[in-house]
């Protein structure tokens, strides 16, 4: 498993950056990019494990993650645009019409 350890560590680091970014940043668009970082870290993990194991399953999973992530991106951007049309430069903190 030695060859892929570097990739796995990289994936873990990218995933953590995404997760921390999502919690720290307040701009919905940036939060959204952080989610993409996390998903790509997952893809990297899948690919390097798949290569290690000599199994196509890892590569196959990436296809599904990729496509579903695209669908998520489209829906997310649509929601963000709906918000920005009403209130330009909104941040997640400005969204406080509700009590939570």
């Amino acid at each position: 498993m030695d060859d892929s350890v570097a990739y796995l560590i990289l994936a873990a680091v990218v995933f953590s950056i995404g997760a921390v970014g999502l919690m720290v940043r307040r701009n919905p668009l940036v939060m959204f990019m952080c989610v993409e970082l996390m998903l790509n870290a997952v893809n990297l993990t899948f690919v390097s494990f798949g290569d290690d194991l000599g199994d196509l399953g890892g590569q196959l999973s990436v296809f599904f993650v990729l496509v579903v992530a695209a669908a998520e991106v489209v829906v997310g951007l649509a929601i963000i645009v709906a918000i920005m049309r009403r209130r330009p430069r909104a941040t997640a903190d400005d969204l406080s019409a509700l009590r939570g």
Partner: protein, 506 residues
């Protein structure tokens, strides 16, 4: 000259056998989903009137193949498709029927609500159908990839439904909160899945079960994988500490959608969790049991305490839903005990079915009363008995059922929780049983206080005009009241129905 390409393995392709009967429910749903979209494309505005009926018929039509399958499939002989990635057994059929019926009731709730708003209708029902299809697929998914695809198929339409009132800032907020939380959760879950795949070399749950059982006791990658996957679904079922989105999203989303998220989406999360816990890592209860134990205790305690101080009925239902998640998680903490694992599974399935009926019913009453009062504040429900006695009685049934008062449905569900916890005979299970009991008493307080306000207080402004309840809402209320009462008065029949097992699965 294509020698290099020729060296690649050219395995011959065999057409996979497809069990059409086992896939019939999904195909019927897909067909009606396509039909709803086609009607919208062809007729545009003129098609509006037929879409909700079409979607309702589609869901009822899905019940037919589910029932014929029920006769053919028994616990000993599940139908296995796609090398074990998709399994149709009694457990998955029960959950599919629950999802489809919940979907039908949600359509009944939505018919007037959506038609009277100025938002699009055809899209609403199309998205609802595809979300329900994701749930139906989830019930059978026994592979990490199919679980993931099913999860997204049910979540992505739900994000749009939550943000349905797009010109209302509260609707926007509901959508973006649910969306960001949801994608974060699925990213965490995916990372867990990639770790599990890396350690076990397979995405098939049954293969994973074999691999993790053989693994050394303290394998960090396996533990991390299991924790991440469970945490990912904890968002979906709104378990504390991953519940923050629930009250805001329920309040900002259209109320029928809030009911849908509170019931169907939560049940789908539980189904995925049960597939994983019972099929993929039954032998690693050392990892998941403590995690689920802590989430169960936190969910019921925090959910109940926060519910005590709510002034809005939808938010109260959201926090009570968080507490109910805790009750439903409780049996899973003893899932690893071979003596009670079957009982734990059927207890959770049972609770999910009863919870679906009583919670949707409560949302139905809120929707009906909001037609008069225009709000979901608890104080506006005061004196409802004076002008809407039928709705008040129905609400009382639902609230007492949620509180677990015999002999209504919720009581039977809670009784089973105690039975499976006591059956495990461990100290931790006994402690949990005591915590469940204490929390049931706290919950009774706020459920009863809503009921008291509806029965005993004076209506605000002395406005006693009757509420006009459209026929579709009456139907929804009749279904939910009937199911809630039947579950309580005839627990035997229901017990047989939900007596399911995942242990016999291949």
């Amino acid at each position: 000259m294509l020698d290099l390409l020729a060296q690649l393995p050219q395995a011959t392709f065999d057409r996979p056998p497809i069990d059409w009967h086992a896939l019939a429910p999904e195909l019927v749903l897909l067909g009606f989903g396509v039909l709803v979209t086609l009607v919208d494309i062809v007729f545009l505005e003129r098609g509006r009137a037929m879409v909700s009926a079409l979607a309702g018929v589609g869901l009822l039509a899905t019940v037919v193949p589910l029932l014929t399958l029920w006769n053919e499939v028994d616990t000993a002989s599940p139908r296995v498709l796609f090398d074990g990635a998709y399994v149709v057994d009694r457990y998955s059929l029960v959950m599919k029927i629950v999802f489809v019926l919940v979907g039908y009731v949600v359509i009944l709730l939505s018919t007037n609500y959506i038609a009277e708003g100025d938002y699009w209708e055809s899209e609403y029902y199309g998205l609802l159908l595809s979300s329900i299809m994701g749930m139906v697929v989830m019930a059978s998914a026994r592979d990490l990839i199919s679980i993931f695809v099913a999860l997204e198929l049910l979540s992505i339409p739900a994000y749009l439904l939550a943000a349905w009132r797009k010109r209302d800032p509260r609707g926007n907020e509901a959508g973006i909160k649910y969306y960001l939380m949801g994608v974060f959760a699925s990213a965490v879950m995916l990372y867990g899945m990639s770790l599990l795949y890396g350690v076990t070399g397979s995405t098939l749950l049954t293969d994973i079960a074999v691999a993790v059982a053989d693994a050394p006791q303290f394998d960090a990658a396996i533990a991390l994988g299991i924790v991440f996957v469970v945490v990912g679904f904890a968002f979906k079922i709104s378990a504390v500490p991953f519940h923050h989105w629930a009250p805001d999203t329920y309040e900002g989303a259209p109320t029928p959608v809030a009911g849908f998220l509170a019931v169907a989406s939560k049940a789908a999360g539980f189904v995925a969790l049960m597939n994983l816990v019972f099929v993929a890592f039954p032998d690693r209860h050392d990892v998941y049991q403590p995690l689920i134990w802590v989430m169960a205790v936190l969910s019921m305690t925090v959910g109940n305490l926060l519910a005590l101080r709510q002034t809005n009925m939808v938010r109260l239902l959201a926090y009570s839903g968080v507490a109910q998640t805790g009750f439903m998680l409780a049996p899973l903490t003893v899932a690893g005990d071979p003596g009670v694992s079957d009982l734990a599974l059927s207890t959770t399935v049972n609770y999910l079915a009863i919870y679906a009926a009583m919670n949707l019913g409560a949302f139905a009453v809120v929707i009906a009363l909001a037609r008069k009062t225009g709000s979901a504040e608890i104080d506006d429900l005061k004196g409802a008995f004076q002008y809407a006695p039928g709705l008040t009685v129905a609400m009382t049934v639902f609230l007492f059922s949620l509180a677990g008062i015999p002999p209504i449905g919720g009581w039977f569900a809670k009784f089973n929780v105690f039975r499976s916890l006591a059956g495990a005979e461990t100290t931790w299970a006994y402690i949990l049983a005591v915590i469940v009991a204490v929390n049931s008493v706290i919950a009774l307080y706020y459920y009863a206080s809503v009921a008291r306000k509806m029965w005993a207080d004076e209506a605000p402004d002395g406005n006693l005009a009757p509420v006009h309840v459209p026929p579709s809402l009456v139907a929804a209320l009749a279904i939910t009241v009937a199911v809630t009462l039947v579950f309580g008065f005839f627990p035997g029949t229901v017990g047989d129905f939900t007596d399911v097992s995942l242990l016999a699965s291949p």
